[in-house]
Amino acid sequence: MASFTSPSLVRIRYALWGLIVVAALVLAGLYMRGTPAPQESRQATQSGEAAVRSEFTLTDHTGKRVTEADFLGRWQMVFFGFTYCPDVCPTTLAYMATVLDTLGETADKIAPLFITVDPGRDTPKVMADYVSAFHHRLVGLTGSEVDVAAAADAFRAYYERMEEDSAPDGYLMTHSGHIYLMTPEGRFEAVFREGDQPPEEMARKIQNIMEKYGK
């Protein structure tokens, strides 16, 4: 990896440490308020207390208002991101598409959902163009700022607007990069990250989970 050590980057390094401190404080704050951070929710799942819930009222990329009830009976594979994200989001959505393709017909039992954390710019029309580029079954979900905040809160997904002069429209979205797997009843089952395993391995894990449930 690159090493960013030149004197002119020292300020950036300090800024990064600053960000880490701020992030730590934010996480600590969330913890104090009893809101589990992603790490904790994973542990909670292992102990059987699913803190991550699939609860939302959003607008899909065809313009239809949907809730989690519309996806009951299918497994949900959920990722939060935004279409102005040039690196992690396309990488993760393409990864999810490969997982679905690897699963073949089994993927019919999965509803892949891409929920934007940038609803102001990600209209249903934008989402329609965007999701269709990745997978014909990928569902794009957007809504009002309040709708999206509620959905992210239920999934314990973190996101934040970051002002950045050099970015389009002067801001970027910071977001957690998890892929959530929810059961056909809408309960939390597992969390994955794109970089943690090749897509074939994630497909195998999902297959195993489905066999375990017999669903």
């Binding site: 980057l9 050099s166 389009p168």
Partner: protein, 149 residues
Amino acid sequence: MRTALLIVAVLTLSPFSAMAEETVRIIEPWARASVLASRPGAAYLTIESARDDRLLSVESPVADRVMIHATENNDDVNRMVHFDALDLPAGKSVVLAPGGTHLMLMGLKERLIEGARVPVTLRFERAGEVTITVPVLGIGARGPTEDIQ
């Protein structure tokens, strides 16, 4: 590998290559196809410099601005960080790859279409300007040496 050879060829043809070729190698550059022209694109490459150098800026005629960005992942949260320049320690491979450091192409004239070839000029503190041709791979591509969807 074919890409690497191609880049060597491009460098050889470049008017700025005489000096740059000796000191800086650009390996396997690629860009990911983008979905919408209104959304930024991303390009990746590996840079090797024989001596200490810095990548100061990047330009491309297909974009209003090219920025050096990194995706930092702390506590499972992805955060974009903007770099004014990229340090290139002598003899080290500096890798720009998905999920890490990348070139962000902003204000695209049109979306990046798979199969297209995009000129990109890298300006180094010591090696000067190097113009390369960057192939646009599929939206699901992970790199030039892996299967392209």
